[in-house]
C-alpha cells in the first residue's frame, strides 16, 4: 500500500487566526525568531493499488472538490516516498 499526502493550507491572503495565536504564544514560551506561523491540515491517504498518474489525478480531484475548500485554501498532493519504499 502506498501513502499519498495532501497538505491543505489557507491561502496566503486569508487570515489564519490559529497560526497567529500560536505565533503570539511562542515568545512567551521562550521561543524567539519565528516570524510567522501558518497552521493547516495534513491528510494521509493509504491508497490501494498502484499510485500511477491516473490515481494521482483522482486524488488531485478529491483534494480539489472535497479535502480543501478552494475558496479559501490551497493544497498540494504528493506521494510519501518513505512509505512507498517500505511497502
Amino acid at each position: 500500500m502506498a501513502r499519498v499526502v495532501v497538505d491543505v493550507m489557507l491561502k496566503p491572503e486569508i487570515l489564519d487566526p490559529q497560526g497567529q495565536a500560536v505565533q503570539r504564544a511562542l515568545p512567551r514560551l521562550g521561543f524567539e525568531g519565528i516570524a510567522d506561523v501558518r497552521q493547516g491540515k495534513r491528510f494521509e491517504l493509504e491508497v490501494e493499488g498502484p499510485v500511477d498518474d491516473a490515481a494521482l489525478a483522482r486524488i488531485h480531484e478529491m483534494a480539489e472538490t472535497f479535502l480543501a475548500n478552494t475558496v479559501i485554501e490551497d493544497f498540494t498532493v504528493r506521494v510519501d516516498e518513505a512509505v512507498r519504499a517500505e511497502s
Binding site: 486569508i14 487570515l15 489564519d16 487566526p17 497567529q20
Partner: protein, 749 residues
Amino acid sequence: MSLDTVKHAAGTPDAGQPWAELGLKEDEYARIREILGRRPTGAELAMYSVMWSEHCSYKSSKVHLKQFGEKAPENDALLVGIGENAGVVDVGQGYAVTFKVESHNHPSYIEPYQGAATGVGGIVRDILAMGARPVAVMDPLRFGAADHPDTKRVLPGVVAGIGGYGNCLGLPNIGGEVVFDPCYQGNPLVNALCVGVMKHEDIHLAKASGAGNKVILYGARTGGDGIGGVSVLASETFDDSKPTKRPAVQVGDPFQEKLLIECTLEIFREKLVAGIQDLGGAGLSCATSELASAGSGGMRVELDTVPLRDSSLSPEEILMSESQERMCAIVEPDKVDRFLEICEKWDVIATVIGEVTDGSRLEIFWHGEQIVDVPPRSVAHEGPTYHRPYARPDWQDALQADDAGKLPRPANAAELRAQVLQLVGSPNQASKAWITDQYDRFVQGNTVLAQPEDSGMVRIDEDTNLGVAVATDGNGRYAKLDPYAGAQLALAEAYRNVAATGARPLAISDCLNFGSPEDPAVMWQFAEATRGLADGCQTLGTPVTGGNVSLYNQTGDVAIHPTPVVAVLGVIDDVTRRTPVGFAEEGQLLYLLGDTREELGGSAWSQVVHDHLGGLPPQVDLERERLLAEILISASRDGMVDAAHDLSDGGLVQALVESCLHGGKGARVVVPDDLDPFVFLFSESAGRAVVAVPRSEELRFTDMCGARGLPVTRIGVVDGDELAVQGQFDIPLDELRTAHEATVPGLIA
C-alpha cells in the same frame, strides 16, 4: 507607483476612472464630481462607491423605510430609534436593552462557515457599539430544498459557523428559525440577531465630537478581506508588481472578538469613550465617515498608521477592507493612555490613527499626502435615493385565485393520521434539535428559556429576576401570497410567541430579505411588506428600532419569496413566572384560544401534502393579537396556565405534538362540534394559542377570557403517552417522536 492625491486629482480632471466597475451609475459619479468640485481621487472614489452601494446606503429601500418613523407608535420605551447601530429600549429598573437582526446572506452562500460566522460577529459588534454587554444571539435561517445536494453543503457549514463563532464568544443561542424552500436555492438567508443589556447611562452613540479628541482603531489588524471589488481600483492606480489576489471572503476570529468585547466593556466601565463605532461593511470608510458625519466637526486620519496584516495593501484597499473584529473609538486626549492600557491588558492592538478637527471635512492622509478631502455627510448620509418603479405583478391574481381550499383532503381517519405524521416529520415542521444542540444555550448562566420554546428568554438582573424575551418569525409563503398581510403575520407571530412565554412585547427589529429592487414586482412586494409592517407596528404599539434590508436575493430572474423576518422583544418583570411550551402535568385542561376558520392558503399542510402554494394567507386581526397577548401575559403572571404554545405553521396539531413531546406527556383531544376535524387540526388561522390550565385555575381563567371577550374552547386534557383525537386517531408519543426527530439528522447525514 503613483499616489492619486487630492492635488493630483485637481490637476488631472480628465483622468479616466473605473466608476462603473465599482458599481456607480453615471449620474452618481457626476454627483460626486459636483460635490467635490473636481474628480474624486481613487481613495475618494472607493469610499463613495462602497458607501453609496445598496448595502450601505439603502438607496432603493429608504423611501419605504421612512414609514417606520412616520407611523411609529407613541412609545416611551424607545430610548434610541432607527439610525444608530441598533435601537435601544427601556425595560425598566434602569436597564436598557438593544437588539437587532441583520443578514449575511450572500457571503454565506459563497463560504457557508465563514459567511455565517462573520454574520454573527458583525451583529455582535453593532450591539457592543451601543454600550451594551451582548447577552444572547438568535439565527433565523432559510435554505433551499431539504433534499437538494447543495443544501448538504450550505446548511452544515452555516450551522457550524454560527455555532463556532457564537459558542466561542460565550453568547447563548436562544432561538431562531430553520426553513427549507426551493426558492432559497442559491440564495440561502442567514440572518443573525444579537441582544445586549446596559444601564440607561451607559448608552453610547456613534459620533465624533470635540476637536482634538483622538480617533483610535482597535482590534484585529487590517488585511485584504472582502475587497475583491476595489482591487479594480488598486490595479488601475498602482503598477502590476503587487499581488492582485484579494480575498472576497472574510474570515472570522471569534477569539479576537471575545477579547474585543471584554476590552470594550472595560473601557465603557471607565467611561473612556466619547463616541464609538464598529467596523462592518465598508470598514474604515464607513466608520470614519459616519462618526464624522454624526459629530460636530471634521476628522483627520493618517491612514498609514493603520496596523496591517498585509503590507502590500493600497490606501484604497485599507479604506475598503472588511477585516473583522475591529472597532473605532473617539477618545479625549487625557484618556488615551488609560484606553491603550486596557487594550494592552486584553492583548488587543490599538492605534491612534487620527483626530477630530474643528473643520467640517473628513481628511485622510497617506504618508503625509492628502488623498481624501470630503464633506463626511455626503459620503455617509447623503447618498442617492431611488424611487424605484413598482407594480403589482400580473401573476398575483392568479396565485391568489388558486385556492388551497380546493385541494383534496384526507378521506378518512386513517389518512388524517398519516398526514399528521407526514406533517410533523416534514423538514420545516420537524424538530431542529440536531441543529440547535450545536449551539451553547447555557453560557452566561442566565438562560431561562431557549429553543424549542416559543421565545428565548434571559434574566438580566439576578436580584430582581427582570428578564427579556425575543422571538423571530417570518413566513415567505404567506408573504408571497400577500406581502402586506405576510409581513403582518410575521409580526403577529413573533409578538404572539413572546406573549406566550409571559413577556410583554415592547419593540421590534426586522430583516427584510427580498429579490432585486430593479424588478418592479419585487419592489412592489417590498413596498407592500414595509407598509404592512409599519401599519402593524402602529396598531400593536411596538416601534421598529432598527433592522436590515437584504436585496438582490435572486438567481437570474427568479427572486426568493419575499421574506420579511420580524424579531419582537418583550420584557418580563419576574422570570420565575415564565410559561414553557411543554405539557408536564397530567390532568391539566387544554384550552384553545382564538377563532379557527378554514384557512389553508400557504399552509404547511398545503406544502407538505400537495406541494402547493396558492390562495390567500390567514386573515390578520391585530386587535385580536393584542387581546390574546394580554390574556397570555396575565395568565402567566397570575399562575393560571402552566404551559402555552402559539399556533402558527402546521396549525393546532403541530402545536399539540410539540407541547406533548417537549413536556413528555400525551393529550386527549376532542374536536369541537362546530368544526371539521381536518380544519380543526390543520388550519393556520392566526391569533390563536393552546394553553394547559391547572384544574384549580379553570374558572378564574375562563372567566378572565370571557370578561375580555376572547373566544376560548376547552379541547381536552393532558393525559397518557399518546396524542389521541377522539373519534379520529391515537398516535403514541414514541411514534410522533421518531417522525419528528429523525428527519433533520437524516437529511444531513
